[in-house]
């Protein structure tokens, strides 16, 4: 199996895993976790230098999940990579678990506690700045939601990143076009989106965020410009992979019924067959 095929399969397996977690826990953020599964898969299985046996390794690349609510793909991937036993995924959102509904650094592999939107970019600016101060070559990646862009702190971070010429920082926007209430353009319009980031001094790249091949190419080639932070506008589909959840706002935190769950698992299993 070549790398791309492996990543595609992995992403589908992660989707199955996260759906099962949400179904069994009876809670979770389904839509946004499915939309960013491909991005996280490419980061964790191809791009980032991390060591599950040594999560605090000094030279590791850093990942900060700013859209903390979509934690399920993250938990599934960290477990699969071996940061903690897979068995533990069963405790997701249960009494006294550490696998709560948001990233938290009690869990090996998690850099920072998130959940309140608009925190990830400023945190990542700090990490990238520290790398420059220490003359380290690790990279910092952060994943934000598009609804999240309404938070002012995002733009405070954006300004600082270009001021400090953080070309070791890559911010990815999961541009699925939906937030809780509905379309981002109805709730708080963002377009022209890439132009805003360019105006803030970022090198902006657009990509189909559910296309593994494109993601690999784009992420392999960052930073595109020395002295500039990179923004990847990843156009995605909320609920990606499950036909009846795709682009439906209610699936933001909808928990599948038994029937929906079975249908979804069937669909994903078929995708896996094709990906054999």
């Amino acid at each position: 199996m070549n790398k791309i095929e492996f990543l595609k399969r992995k992403a589908t397996e992660i989707r199955k895993e996260l759906l099962t977690m949400i179904y069994e826990a009876g809670t979770g953020h389904t839509g946004g976790s499915l939309s960013n599964t491909d991005i996280l898969t490419v980061l964790y299985y191809h791009i980032m230098n991390v060591d599950p046996n040594n999560p605090k390794w000094e030279d590791r690349d850093r990942y900060v999940q700013s859209k903390g609510h979509a934690v399920e793909s993250y938990w599934a991937i960290l477990a699969d990579k071996g940061f903690f036993p897979k068995e533990e995924l069963k405790t997701f959102s249960q009494f006294n678990t550490r696998l709560i509904g948001h990233p938290n650094n009690k869990v090996p592999g998690v850099e920072m506690n998130t959940g309140a939107l608009g925190h990830g970019l400023p945190i990542s600016v700090g990490m990238a700045l520290a790398a420059k101060m220490d003359r380290k070559s690790y990279r910092v990646y952060t994943l934000m939601g598009d609804g999240e862009q309404a938070e002012g702190s995002v733009w405070e971070g954006a300004m600082a990143a270009s001021h400090y010429k953080l070309d070791n920082l890559v911010a990815i926007i999961d541009r699925n076009g939906l937030q809780i209430t509905g379309s981002t353009e109805d709730v708080m319009s963002l377009e022209p989106f890439g132009a805003k980031w360019s105006a803030f001094g970022w090198e902006v790249v657009e990509v189909d965020g559910n296309d593994i091949e494109q993601l690999v190419t784009v992420l392999e080639n960052t930073p595109n410009v020395a002295g500039k932070p990179t923004l990847i506008v990843a156009n995605t589909v909320k609920g990606k992979g499950i036909s009846f959840a795709e682009n439906v706002a209610k699936w933001h935190h909808h928990v599948p019924s038994k029937e929906e769950y079975q249908l979804a698992i069937e669909e994903l299993s078929k995708q896996l067959e094709v990906q054999q």
Binding site: F95, I100, G101, G115, G118, G147, E151, G152, Q179, T181
Partner: protein, 322 residues
């Protein structure tokens, strides 16, 4: 109407956010100046129906809580009556400077409704729990702080707030709440505590959804031969000092119970009053100074002793001097 209200039926369960949005919708139909302002939170605040029926009276700012409160203060300064509805955790923390300066200091007529407060977001963790909001908002001069016990009180509180020309922070939870009151046929006044049950041996002072626990505890204590007074402190600021001092004098000891950190909330407010005027023993029940354990509200409450059994145990210790 007497100040002692009849206890409600435990079986009735309606979320306070639902009661609040229905009340607001009814009032806003009559008064075009009543607005709700939300931050991608109309679902969480049960305001979907409001938005459909009165689209011109709902303002959406997106996920931007600082902007939310700033915009609301501008609306209020221009003659509107904005009710801001946003998760308590973000509203009380993310926007606290706007609350302090644009709302309280500028004395703009903004009503801040913190929804899904306390630990009602369960396993979403500390970022989503709101267990410091009473402490923080209470410390801001010019801002009143309230918590309704159930749907009846939520309704009466909102009706009172529409007529009340001052900045207020109201905190409610997320889930359906067991009734504490039998009906809304009782006298509700901002700043005036409600004695839910008379008693002479000890007083339990509760606020919000813990009022029900206090009522049930008093019942359990009756069986032990202990006559427990229950006070519902729906207004935490301005605090009804008179009711507290009367309880201290007449019942000798006080237990407070709240869905908040043991620091800075109702318990602290009560202790501040008692210690300065009539020092009697006060036991503060709340969440400890740590990120709360993951779990459903009932599991978390049980774990930290916000329960009938624990109130009973402590009351017995205090009354019998054990």
């Amino acid at each position: 109407m007497s100040n002692v209200a009849l206890k409600g039926d435990k079986g009735n369960k309606i979320a306070n956010r639902q009661a609040i949005s229905e009340t607001l919708l009814n009032l806003a139909k009559e008064n075009k100046n009543i607005l709700v302002v939300t931050s991608d939170s109309r679902g969480s605040a049960s305001l979907v129906d409001f938005g459909k029926q009165l689209p011109d009276q709902i303002v959406e700012v997106g996920i931007a809580e600082q902007n939310l409160v700033g915009v609301a203060s501008g609306l209020a300064a221009s003659g509107k009556k904005p009710f801001v509805a946003s998760p308590a955790c973000f509203l009380s923390m993310r926007s606290i400077e706007q609350i302090k300066v644009d709302v309280a200091y500028s004395n703009t007529n903004v009503k801040l409704i913190g929804i899904s407060g306390g630990v009602s977001y369960g396993a979403l963790g500390m970022s989503h729990h709101s267990l410091q909001d009473l402490a923080v908002t209470r410390a801001i001069p010019g801002l009143d702080v309230m918590m309704p016990a159930d749907r009846h009180e939520a309704k009466k509180m909102i009706e009172a707030l529409v007529e009340y020309d001052r900045p207020v922070y109201v905190r409610i939870g997320r889930n359906p709440v067991e009734d504490s009151y039998a009906s809304d046929n009782y006298d509700f006044q901002i700043g005036k505590a409600i004695t839910m049950k008379e008693g002479t041996d000890i007083t339990v002072i509760a606020t919000g959804e813990t009022v029900r626990i206090a009522l049930d505890s008093a019942e359990a204590l009756q069986q032990e031969g202990i006559d427990c007074r229950v006070i519902n402190m729906h207004t935490i600021k301005p605090l009804d000092k008179e009711a507290i001092l009367k309880a201290a004098e007449e019942t000798g000891s006080i237990i407070t119970i709240e869905e908040h950190s043991i620091y800075g909330g109702l318990g602290s407010a009560v202790a501040e009053v008692v210690s300065q005027s009539n020092p009697v023993p006060v036991r503060i029940l709340g969440l400890p100074d740590e990120p709360a354990i993951a779990g459903k509200t009932a599991e978390v409450f049980e774990y930290y002793g916000l329960s009938v059994d624990n109130v009973k145990k402590i009351a017995i210790q205090m009354v019998r001097g054990l």
